[in-house]
Amino acid sequence: MSLELVFQQALNGLSFGALLFILASGLSLVFGMMDVVNLAHGAFYMLGAYVALSVVQVTGSFWIAMLAAPLALALVGLVVEPLLLRRLRGRHLDQVLLTIGVSLVIVDLIGQLWGREVRSLSAPPGLDGSVGLIGGVYPVYRLFVIAFGVVLAAAMAVVYRRTRIGMLIRAGVEDAEMLGALGIDTNRLFASTFATGAALAGLAGVIAAPVFGVQPGMDTDPGLLYSLVVVVVGGLGTLSGAVAGSLLIGPADTFGKVLFQDVALAVIFAIVALVLLLKPTGLLGRIRIAR
């Protein structure tokens, strides 16, 4: 590999990683707070992409879709959590099973409403061109994705560390029961956390659509598959873990697939296995006390 090629692939890997971060952040948030592995996360991501398709069709604006899809998904989250998940609080396995059910229903509804053909979404005007970089031209949209990922991570870090909501979330991660005893309405906190997680999945659906496409099956691959890999490798339930996971997996997947293309699919899981062997909690995971 020439240096030029390495640079271009590193850029590909970084933008892929940024997409993975946007995709995984919601899953990580919900897990950290509620101790629920939300297996409907991929379906939420898919729904976000399809909502975006329709919004772009009607309004012609990618930017409106970028607001509408997360909002729509937040509403879905606000229905699913109080109506279904809350009843099973503390029963982890049942919650996981329930989210699988939710995802099956959503994916089938998408098939009914939008059809089952392969679709795609173009990058918005202004970001759909290319700029000159080392080794020729590079799509502006992928640079935008990197910037967006950085901004989102920074914004989430500020909310986590500097705001009252962030404090509640961190406290909830530590001990939700104690938080309740201190007079915080944990029902409301959990519902809004779950809705935020769903909204992030919806946002990922819009941002990733011009790169990953919009098609049946996207809920599992790349949706759920990659977000689980990122969250498990990075460390369950922490923001820094999601950042570390996507920064490792994005470039590793990119280089792995072109360097070892005959075992392309195995590369990523070899990394997962290795990380889990050396550090079972993930790169930046915390040790959780079994409750």
Binding site: V118, S120, G136, G213, Q215, P222, K257, V258, L265
Partner: protein, 423 residues
């Protein structure tokens, strides 16, 4: 006793896998029932005798999973053909039974077995993924069930192979679609004969993609052509930028690719956003790279791509014009290549039944009648190769152009009567 029944049944039905407990229970109780009935005949011999009796067609298609749209399209084609013919083939009224394989081979195999044992269908049609077609080959062959494959293109299904690995032809299996040889070898031969001899390969890394790339290379080498390297993303790859970047950093400008559906869209979009057309790279491929499902999403981004297939919606012949017009009277969309494959499968079956006067009781005569079928299809002249049961068909060289705001495959040349070599 139990063991004896199981082995005998397994042998009779050509199972090459171990029976699950459920299959064993179903199979052994069916055998027990059969043994109780004095003078019982095998079910397949008792059904499908009299002309005029309903003809039962089992259709094994994906209605969920990544290929759901293909299944939907082929179901539509079946209904379209039957509607045009008063739900009759020859003098036999038709009943259809659909099963969803969900693109899971094991699910599809179980569904095919249900068609054989429980529904006792007269004819099996459909099958989208090649691994599933290979997976049901032995069961279909052992049951002497007429199977008209209307999509899966793996070469081995209509070939002689050593030890029938991964699959092999059967007298009872016909193919109304294509073999991957037919959509890959001729264009390699054609391009190298015209003087374009050096190619870089890009293909989805699964059975069908590697087969297509290999057949293309063989065609290329016939006239002294060579390949200079390859990239092979996994099937269903989310991000194509890394692979297109690899292509951009090597000197061979002509790139032959095998992708379809979402992969094709991802490939073509990355190809453009990374500036390959401006850098002088040229896209070639098997026809699925630029079929309507892809073109309606990528539009003029695919302009200039040269691909080969046995049909195009723009094909200029009387049958195709009528077919496209009639189809559009029924449905608010254009027919796609999967529609044509299934439609031709129905037509072939119809023609064979007409020759037989609707009598399907003699399997050998049924096979012979299908072998003798020939008609004008929307794709051109259609006939089965008698030795392989794969269609003999014209292959069209097509170039993507945007005309009057529509991006279409224009026909630039034709390779007449391409036959699969059969081994």
């Amino acid at each position: 006793m139990g063991g004896f029944v199981k082995n005998k049944l397994a042998e009779k039905r050509g199972y090459t896998y171990r029976l699950t407990r459920r299959q064993f229970l179903v199979a052994s109780s069916a055998a027990a029932l059969a043994a109780c009935a004095p003078g019982a005949v095998t079910p397949s011999a008792s059904s499908s005798v009299a002309p005029g009796k309903a003809l039962k067609i089992g259709l094994l298609l994906p209605f969920s999973g990544v290929y759901a749209e293909l299944g939907t399209s082929m179901r539509r084609a079946t209904e379209f053909y039957l509607r045009q013919n008063d739900t009759k083939l020859a003098n036999r009224p038709v009943t259809t039974v659909y099963a969803d394989d969900a693109n899971v081979t094991a699910t599809g195999i179980a569904a095919a077995q249900k068609f054989i044992d429980q529904d006792q269908v007269d004819v099996l049609m459909g099958v989208v993924p090649t691994p599933l077609a290979y997976g049901i080959r032995n069961a279909v062959h052992a049951a002497k069930l007429i199977f008209i494959d209307t999509n899966a293109g793996g070469n081995a299904l209509t070939r002689d192979t050593t030890n029938c690995t991964p699959s092999c032809k059967s007298p009872y299996i016909f193919r109304a679609s294509f073999s991957s040889y037919q959509i890959s070898y001729p264009i390699g031969d054609y391009l190298s004969a015209k003087g374009t001899k050096e190619f870089f390969l890009a293909y989805a890394n699964y059975g069908f993609g590697t087969e297509s790339a290999a057949d293309f290379t063989t065609g290329l080498k016939k006239n002294g052509g060579t390949t200079t390297g390859n990239v092979a993303p996994p099937l269903g790859n989310p991000d194509f930028a890394p692979f297109v970047t690899q292509i951009k950093n090597q000197p061979t400008k002509n790139v032959y690719s095998f992708f379809s559906g979402a992969d094709a869209i991802g490939f073509i979009k990355s190809w453009n956003s990374l500036g390959l057309p401006a850098a002088g790279y040229k896209m070639y491929g098997a026809g699925f790279l630029t079929e309507q499902d892809v073109l309606k999403e990528v539009k003029d981004l695919a302009n200039g791509a040269i691909t080969s297939l046995f049909w195009a919606v723009e094909l200029d012949n009387a049958e195709n014009k009528k077919f496209v017009a009639d189809f559009q009277k029924q449905y608010p969309l254009l027919p796609d290549v999967f529609t044509v494959q299934q439609y031709d499968g129905m037509r072939a079956l119809d023609e064979a039944l007409k020759a037989l006067g609707g009598d399907t009781s003699d399997k050998d005569k049924f096979v012979k009648a299908l072998e003798d079928v020939s008609f004008k299809s929307p794709r051109g002249d259609f006939a089965f190769d008698k030795t392989t049961h794969n269609p003999i068909q014209d292959i069209y060289i097509r170039e993507v152009k945007t005309q009057n705001g529509q991006t279409v495959n224009t026909i630039s040349d034709k390779i007449a009567k391409v036959t699969d070599p059969g081994k």
